[in-house]
């Protein structure tokens, strides 16, 4: 049953990848990327069960963190063109 779930996850990742390649705007690509990241987290967890090694779950936890931070970082970079932009403005304002 884990194999079936793995196949379903891979197919939906392929569809999201289509959107990342097609996506007219950069935001479509970021959305697809974030979605692929979430699917990867679940995929790692399912693969752990498929191989009978649930230790993989620590990797899933770490990947969930990286995925979130990565999405926010890419969005900030698209918006300001600079990862340090917001903080400098805060310092200047305060």
């Amino acid at each position: 049953m884990f194999a079936v779930t793995t196949v379903a996850l891979l197919v939906s990742m392929a569809l999201a990848m289509c959107r990342a390649l097609l996506g007219p705007t950069a935001y479509d690509r970021v959305l697809a990327l974030n979605n692929i990241g979430t699917k990867t987290v679940v995929l790692i967890a399912v693969l752990g069960f498929l191989n009978g090694r649930p230790d993989f779950l620590d990797l899933a936890l770490a990947y969930a963190l990286i995925n979130f931070i990565g999405t926010i970082a890419v969005l900030k970079y698209i918006e300001y063109g600079d990862l340090g932009a917001g903080s400098r403005k805060d310092v200047a304002g305060g």
């Binding site: 049953m1 779930t5 935001y27 979605n35 679940v42």
Partner: protein, 122 residues
Amino acid sequence: MMDQLLSVLTWALLLAGSFFFLTGALGMVRLPDVFTRMHAAGMGDTMGAGLILLGLCVQGGVSVVTVRLVLVLAFVWFTSPIATHALAKAALSGGTRPYTLTGTDAARGDESHEGGGATSAP
């Protein structure tokens, strides 16, 4: 008997989760613009991940594995709306016009720039 019951439950949860993931991915390809695609992506993030991880919890039983699965699930459910909101806000301020049925963006322009045409007031 008990084992079979748990196995059937796991099957059901995993298949339902896969269904929501696949539907969400199909929506990502079918829907017309980034804002509507966000709703499709949200489906996978909430119910897809939720049901599949719940199914794995059933399989894991009462153990450290289940604790980790619950941590992963809680983390996904907390961060997914924040990432989606950040994306929506960035897309709006980046000048992306939301798709509307009529094809005009006049309604959107009026509402956002005059700050609150309170269409529905709970």
